[in-house]
Subunit: 121 residues, 2 copies
Amino acid sequence: MFKTFGQHYLVEYIGCEADRIAFVGPVREALLRAAEESRATILETFFHQFEPKGVSGMLFIAESHFSIHTWPEDGYAAFDVLTCGRMEPEKAVESLRKSLGARDVRCRVVSRGYGPEGGSA
Amino acid sequence: MFKTFGQHYLVEYIGCEADRIAFVGPVREALLRAAEESRATILETFFHQFEPKGVSGMLFIAESHFSIHTWPEDGYAAFDVLTCGRMEPEKAVESLRKSLGARDVRCRVVSRGYGPEGGSA
């Protein structure tokens, strides 16, 4: 039996503008915009401020989740989207690139589930 | 410049006992136990019940996050740990395997960050 339950996008944002990823306010705004533009259905949202700077953020969506973790001192943000339904994750990736002012983006996509004899999808 | 910010564990639990992954109660208990056994430092926890069955769960930890999404009708759960600090993610993977009664486990580990000329780590 082969079964894929979703696609997991692992995204690296490089050379972000530090003031856009240091505090919850702008990161929340960016993540909500990315959800809207990718047609995700938001269920719940959660954000955590690290002191003095740095944010963890999470959206539970009907299609699974968005998460983001930021390292302002390095201009770096790690984003992931797990999606098992109708939405357009590439649009979320592009929306966040603009919002975070990232100089460069790297995106890997991993199928989630399992293959023949229980192997990874 | 080469920089790795964390390790992302993508874990497939196959052949789980349906009653252990259908509702928030046992999933929350399993995720908290996995955090404790892997020495993660929990900051905040969030769970969402899908109707009639199925759970999304998230722990913000000082080291980044745990997430889980379950498909009880398929006996399947997708788990991920992003860790950028001192903890023992393999212990979380094994703890959850026991708690969910999984018949099989598949685990992939992806370095998060960026490599020379901005490539993925």
